[in-house]
Symmetry: C2
Subunit: 253 residues, 2 copies
Amino acid sequence: MTYAVALNLDEGLVFCSDSRTNAGMDNVATFRKMHVFEVPGARVLVLLTAGNLAITQSVVNRLAQTDNDGNRLIDTAPTLYHAAEMVGSAVREVFKRDGQAMRAQHAGFSASFILGGQIGSLAPRLFHIYSAGNFIESSPETPYFQIGETKYGKPIIDRLIRPATPLDVAAKCVLISFDSTMRSNVSVAPPYDLLCYRTDHLKVDFVRRLDADDPYMNSLSKSWSEGIRRAFDALPAPDWLAPVHPNKGGAQA
Amino acid sequence: MTYAVALNLDEGLVFCSDSRTNAGMDNVATFRKMHVFEVPGARVLVLLTAGNLAITQSVVNRLAQTDNDGNRLIDTAPTLYHAAEMVGSAVREVFKRDGQAMRAQHAGFSASFILGGQIGSLAPRLFHIYSAGNFIESSPETPYFQIGETKYGKPIIDRLIRPATPLDVAAKCVLISFDSTMRSNVSVAPPYDLLCYRTDHLKVDFVRRLDADDPYMNSLSKSWSEGIRRAFDALPAPDWLAPVHPNKGGAQA
């Protein structure tokens, strides 16, 4: 399983992905699910992948293929929208090549992608591309996308992330979202890849792999647990002094 | 969709369920998903249901059918284990009656149940019954079950619930779990039915329906949001002063 999330904020973009891959719980491996296509000073594109690794690796390979001038395919996209179309086309090509044979083996054609970045002076954009190759774009109302094992880590993002959230605060929130996911699902685990991109820098400002023993991540996880516990303890329990019992016609106990 | 959860704790049992039912987002209704079979002084059994309402209502009807002496079927179970078997048998009977016709209409046979309670001087027990009629029991390591839309509300339970957690604290945690679920999934919504059972009381001690405008629930929701925000704000953001960039051979920005 995978968990990956990306945010499109006023200050820039935040990407984070785990690196756990498994084919059954007895076959767990670590593969990078964050792919950076950077031409410093000109463009930064980041692709997060989830789903069948044979599909997603083939898509990444196709996007990175170079033409006679040595340019990668993805680097020829004039806009992020065109780049999202390229991801969609690539996954359709893989489906055309592998889909029928996979179905014959009862393997579902499962893959999803988050693509974000900035090209030249255009505004940063963020897209979610499905296994059918179609895609949607983020909006100020929903400035983020998640792929993979998304539900455990969604409430904290829904509570705290707004377009105006600063990049470093957003990164902190994303890492807490990963911590919550990891606690509830053994198939999501460190190391995590975290990348922050500040609008108009046109280069990757910050990228870090956070291992299982990363001091910041461990401190964040521990302090967050303690903070949650304190916030919880501070809340009043339900009022037990006046129980009601509708099944008994409203009789008081 | 449904969300329901039940806990088996040292002090007793806690049950909570939402009451939203839908067949597509344009057809939303409210049905009770918590069913109480109580014989005061003798036994308390509580059944939470999720899935296809035609299935779960039929199961509840079969369990409540009376014999010539006026005893409900479920009340004849000598132990909770036998009662869980009765739920399993009932869902298999419904499958036998409706399963083939449902499949012909491409309707999946989807239903799940949580059954908990106490009979006489036996210890309280908690079971999770699947649509195939098979079932599992809770354990001290995992003292709770969830059915329906379970993932959004799981991290807070994993963090805070232990067998030794007092009933009122557990009820507070369960309601926060519902609050988190409701925020992230529009198909889960109040009113919520909350029931707490204290071991050896052999009657329902506390049951309450919490509506959308319930003062305690609204206060809990607001205070929890504020507490989460404070706990979050108190954590340090990642150290942005020493960015690393592995893709660039470790060059410092």
